[in-house]
Symmetry: C2
Subunit: 240 residues, 2 copies
């Protein structure tokens, strides 16, 4: 057996894509073949992954880190349309290009597949295509939820919604020494202006609303981008 493949399978062992993402649709034999066409690429924070309207040669899955997908209007206004974390997928199959721009928000590792070979695999493994369809449907649902936020929610509700979403995706529960109670801590990963792009507002307003949520005692600040959720029910209420 080839050393590279062994190493590849080794990394798959701890990969979130393997266990809850696309690769979960594959048997270990299939995975071995799948892995043979993949390679891992690393990106620094702020580094471009693909440009708007660029025909990307790769389809990829997020292995580690956070990826922003945004659209920039002619005058510089910017709106984030996707925030990808492991085990989400990035890239468009079947040859269309999109007017969106992908960028590493943190240090990122992507598991990349050449586009045409990935598409062949899709034909060969129906379960894989099935899985991709299901993930796309889920993404469409979240995009629609996000449309509700952008179209109808107030600034405070938007920020509360963000904390709620991140709390459900990325928290680690830790003992609170003073109370002996467990609290969910979460990491924003993004700067204030990136959050603003995500929520469709300005970074000053993001600041003010984070402060407001603290004053109401729903969250507490542990670091610039680190918070703990004090009252998740009240937060959910505040999110609408």
């Amino acid at each position: 057996m080839d050393a590279e493949v062994i190493q590849g399978l080794g990394r798959c062992g701890t990969c979130p894509v393997r266990h809850s993402g696309l690769c979960n649709a594959l048997t270990s034999d299939e995975l071995a073949r799948f892995k043979s066409i993949a390679n891992l690429r690393a990106f620094q924070p702020g580094e471009r992954i693909f440009l708007s309207d660029e025909r990307s040669e790769f389809f990829s899955a997020v292995f580690t880190g956070v990826v922003k997908v945004t659209k920039i209007l002619f005058d510089g206004r910017q709106q984030m349309v996707g925030l990808l974390m492991p085990p989400d997928c990035l890239g468009r199959v079947y040859g269309r290009t999109n007017p969106f721009f992908a960028e590493a928000a943190t240090q990122v590792e992507l598991c990349c597949f050449p586009r045409d070979r990935f598409e062949n695999m899709l034909e060969e493994f129906p379960d894989l295509k099935q899985r991709l369809l299901e993930q796309t449907l889920d993404e469409l649902d979240s995009a629609r939820e996000w449309m509700v936020l952008l179209g109808r929610k107030t600034a405070e509700e938007r920020v509360a919604s963000l904390f709620l979403i991140l709390a459900s995706r990325t928290t680690t529960t830790v003992k609170d020494q003073s109370l002996g109670a467990e609290r969910k801590t979460l990491e924003l990963h993004l700067r204030r202006d990136e959050i603003a792009d995500f929520l469709g507002m300005t970074y000053e307003t993001v600041c003010r609303q984070i402060t407001a949520l603290q004053k109401q005692g729903l969250i507490t600040k542990l670091g610039r981008r680190r918070f703990s959720v004090v009252d998740i029910d009240a937060l959910s209420q505040a999110a609408g």
Copy 2:
């Protein structure tokens, strides 16, 4: 041959779903089988198609008319997340339910397939599943474009964008008698408050911005919901 099927195939002959939608992926033999599990259902304007979080027994394609998909917040605020016209599809495969509400905006005819039998067909005809995947990807892209509109565009840009989208989807070009030039006429289908739900604003603001676009000479009003686009480049500019 069964009379119902004959009639069914007859109607497929003029169906947009057949020619540019899902059914385009099928051969005529396959279509005959597909058609045998379908039935046409009619809805009046304002009639509910499915409720939020309801597990719908049908997957369907829009044959005629316009369908709104909306989410309603606890306090009555409402946001449209999809506006479906022939040959778009409606409904969620693979058993998830969604917190969205579908309603006929005009008189609507839906070509309905029992959900489980439709899912079986998807397995049987890979081209059909392929087609569904591609349509879903396109829908995700439009949802993202919509997020940009909701998050970052001004009231005037939103209304201009709406006219632009409808101009590209549903116009009929007619001779302008006075100028001898051709103009695109379009039909809004929706009431002002429905447009407002679509654009994430109030219906009063929609009115004002429509008036503003008329005063700028970009569009002219032919009827309550009927307009013609005078200057499509300027409109495109105004849309951002």
